[in-house]
Amino acid sequence: MKTFTISIRRLAGSLAVAAALMAAACGGKPVPETPQPAPEPQAVSTAPAPPSSPAAAKPASSRDSLPVPAQPLTDDRVSGKSLDDLNRDSPLKPVFFNYDSAELSEEAQKIAQANAALLRTNKTWVITVEGHCDERGTAEYNLALGERRAASVKTYLVSLGISVERIRVVSYGKEFPFDPGRDEAAFAKNRRGHFVVTAK
């Protein structure tokens, strides 16, 4: 069991966590917050050579076919982002639940399947599935319901072949509504399994 003083060591701990988060967020391939007005041609020149000048980009193997960017290039674009950018664009779509239910509907299963496919493509991604609830339940019981929702997504992903080590579940109950509204449309958005990439 860890003991620490609140005033100083706690703050230091918070800083360490913050530093770790920043390191994780920017790890490997840092991307500037605001894109530099970088000269476009230079960026293009680092990409595979354009078809109009095959000789210049002749690979050592001297093969006829050009190195045409195929499917992986799409993944390069995604993995070139910071975790924050990645999560902001949410490549992993949320699944939604019925009232007071943690069952995955057919529609939710389809979304989970698409997310599983992305996880198979991006084999290094580690994710957290957040369980969220609408405000109609109590603060306390919703912690259990959110836990149950996140766990149900995790179980389904594992059944689709995603390694259990790559999925963490966290219940937020009704603490973080996505839509502050008080109607069913808002409630429906808040009853969700929300995917966050925590490592890549």
Binding site: M1, T5, I6, A18, A139, E140, Y141, L143, A144, E147
Partner: protein, 453 residues
């Protein structure tokens, strides 16, 4: 720290003080019967005694503000338990001011209908305030309570609270709550959670005096911190924090400046509840797959699973004897309140029978032995109280906003809870009969109160 010392001016029945020292004990707030019934001021046949609490007498101009605060806070504290009728302050103008105790105009107070009047003085002693307080019996013109206190000059409210608790104990053999505190979480700092792309408000743990004064922030995580609960010694608070990205239990000792993490990241852990002896915590964890109730020692050792059901088991609370635990489960469909043995033996019995949804049980001690909970009554929730002895349930709030998260005061006479009736989510207190509603918080949203001993 506030100190109290016996004050013994010869004019005021010195003998009484020495004859009945038990009536003046402050330790532990245990019930003790005044051994001399003559000390207790009674009202007219069957009505509560009528007390007047004017502003204290300031020994110098630099304590005039404190003198006013002392009178006001003591008035509020004595009104809170509703054991006395407090004569409204705005009627005191007709009574000539007294500079000393022997100038107190008994006849004028009698005309106002007072059975007892408080006479208090305050002076500055270094960084402290020193006050002398007497309760005078208007009929006998005798002092039935005379005490001296000193405490930090920054907090005259604390001095008034100490007086109120001792007066309730001496006059009514009642354990007052004037020196208790409410812990809760709040988003009042309007900070956003760090390390997430979502726009999420942090919640930090705070505590305040029972009346909402002196709010103090305890956590500085810029994270989500929820469901704080006081330890029985009122010196530690257990809560759930997401400070490491997942929900885990922490025990903070704010007066010692230490904190521990007894569950140490083993699974997701929520909703801690101290046993009445303060040695164990009940909590909800999904470490074995689905939400279940567990019990452990406060140092994290001897973890034992209490429930074993495929349904959700949540929100544990201890019985005052520590032998039983009430909790919420949806094992019969919707969330309902159950009671089971704290040893995990036997089967759980359901006590909420006519509710569509019930959660957050909180259990009061003798003499009431009641379980309050939040019950769905429409689009929102209301507070209801289940009486163990009779098996009857009564309603305390009636659809004004949504009312959740009840927590009993240590004497079982009051509840704190949250309500949306004032717009945002705020902490309120109410007497166990549903009367005397008071708004405690006003800044930001405030959640899940816990009432200290």
């Amino acid at each position: 720290m506030m100190t109290t010392t016996r004050w013994c001016a010869p004019l005021f029945l010195l003998a009484l003080f020495w004859a009945h020292p038990s009536a003046f004990q402050t330790a532990g707030g245990q019930r003790s019967q005044p051994s001399d019934v003559e000390l207790a001021i009674s009202g007219d046949s069957g009505t509560p005694p009528r007390f007047a609490v004017p502003a204290f007498v300031a020994a110098a101009p630099d304590v005039e503000d404190a003198a006013k605060v002392l009178g006001e806070v003591l008035w509020d504290d004595l009104a809170f338990e509703r054991e006395f009728y407090l004569i409204p302050r705005d009627t005191y103008a007709s009574v000539p001011a007294a500079r000393t105790a022997d100038q107190v105009p008994f006849a004028a107070w009698r005309e106002l209908g007072a059975d007892g009047v408080i006479f208090g003085t305050v002076q500055r002693m270094g960084g402290n305030l020193r006050i002398e307080v007497r309760l005078l019996n208007i009929r006998t013109r005798q002092s039935v309570f005379a005490r001296e206190y000193s405490g930090p000059s920054a907090n005259p409210r604390g001095l008034a609270h100490a007086v109120a608790d001792e007066l309730h104990l001496q006059q009514r053999a009642l354990r007052g709550v004037a020196r208790t505190r409410l812990a809760f979480t709040s988003d009042r700092n309007r900070e956003k959670v760090a390390g997430t792309t979502e726009n999420r408000d942090v919640k930090e743990v705070y505590f305040a005096d029972y009346d909402g004064a002196n709010p103090r922030r305890l956590t500085v995580d810029r994270q989500l911190n929820i469901t704080p609960v006081w330890a029985p010694d009122a010196r530690a608070i257990a809560y759930t924090s997401y400070r490491r990205g997942f929900p885990d239990l922490y025990i903070m000792r704010p007066f010692d400046g230490t904190s521990t993490n007894p569950t140490a990241g083993k699974g997701s852990n929520f909703l801690p509840a101290f046993s009445p002896d303060g040695k164990r915590l009940a909590f909800m964890s999904s470490r074995d797959g689905n939400p279940e109730i567990y019990v452990m020692n406060v140092d994290g050792s001897a973890v034992r699973r209490l429930t074993n059901h495929p349904a959700n088991d949540a929100t544990p609370t201890w019985s005052p004897t520590g032998t039983e635990i009430a909790f919420t489960s949806d094992r019969t469909g919707s969330p309902q309140i159950f009671i089971t043995s704290a040893e995990g033996t036997g089967s759980a019995r359901r006590i909420s029978t006519n509710e569509s949804y019930a959660d957050r049980p909180t259990w009061s001690a003798a003499p009431f032995n009641e379980i309050a909970f939040a019950a769905r009554t429409g689009p929102g929730f209301d507070i209801k109280i289940y009486d163990i002895a009779s098996g009857q349930t009564r309603q305390i709030t009636f659809g004004e906003g949504s009312n959740e998260s009840p927590a009993f005061a240590p004497n079982g006479r009051h509840l704190a809870f949250t309500s949306t009736r004032a717009g945002k989510v705020q902490v309120f207190t109410v007497a166990r009969d549903g009367k005397d509603l008071r708004q405690i918080t006003r800044d930001g949203n405030n959640y899940t109160p816990s009432w200290s001993n």
